[in-house]
């Protein structure tokens, strides 16, 4: 069965620090990979996604993620965080079974707190 592991449950950083959130998945086939963010009191929003092509994908608000197939990883990075990045971050995977839309498997989330 597919699964997603996020290694850091809570991360506390100071503004301007660099961020890397780990995400590993288990699935042997072709996958689509996603990072979602949930700001306090708001709905889940898509940060970035990987379907194919360049394994380094850039998303909104200066975030990027690198797909490393050999490591089954899709880590999220940002060179310099801001207080407004305080949120919960979820990694998600969707296996490719053919034409129909399939379910997303989410990790347990990483709560990021950025101190001003």
């Amino acid at each position: 069965a597919q699964s997603v592991s996020q290694h850091n449950h809570h991360v506390i950083l100071s503004e301007a620090a660099s961020l890397e959130l780990g995400c590993n998945y288990s699935y042997g086939g072709t996958v689509n990979l996603f990072w979602y963010v949930q700001y306090p009191g708001q709905h889940l929003q898509l940060l970035l996604k990987y379907f194919s092509g360049d394994p380094l994908v850039k998303g909104i608000k200066g975030f990027e993620a690198e797909f490393i197939k050999s490591k089954f990883s899709f880590n999220l990075r940002k060179p310099s965080v801001q207080w407004s990045d305080t949120a919960e971050y979820f990694c998600a995977v969707k296996g490719q079974y053919g034409g129909a839309t399939n379910k997303l498997i989410f990790g347990t989330g990483t709560l990021l707190a950025v101190q001003p």
């Binding site: 689509n32 708001q42 929003q45 839309t101 990790g107 989330g109």
Partner: protein, 113 residues
């Protein structure tokens, strides 16, 4: 604004009761998925509806059922509520044949006492 609307925003029920949650998808979307997000956990897939039929289902008991209407809106029903059903229930909409970008609603917070 995600464009997906859910109602109600909060709900309190007691064990054994039944509950119905509602979702209106983003304009133009034809597929609705429901997720359960327990405290401290990531969202877990319940089921997905397309063309008024359940297309996929996650590992949830039959107490969880749903419906999709001709206007693509959807309902999630949970019967015989248990304390463990307390969670945030999220609705997400998409185009079945699109690039699978899901738009999420803000959710319904269900508390079972």
């Amino acid at each position: 604004d995600a464009g997906v609307t859910q109602s109600p925003t909060h709900l309190i029920k007691t064990r054994g009761q039944q509950v119905t949650l509602r979702c209106s998808p983003k304009s133009g979307h034809d597929t609705v998925s429901w997720y359960q997000q327990a405290l401290g956990q990531g969202p877990q897939f319940i089921f997905q509806y397309y063309e008024e039929e359940e297309r996929q289902r996650g590992n949830f008991p039959d107490r969880f059922s749903g419906h999709q209407f001709p206007n693509y809106s959807s309902e999630l029903n949970v019967n015989a509520l248990l304390l463990g059903d307390s969670a945030l229930y999220l609705c997400a909409s998409s185009l079945l044949q699109g690039k699978e970008k899901l738009f999420f609603g803000s959710g319904t917070q269900l508390s079972v006492l």
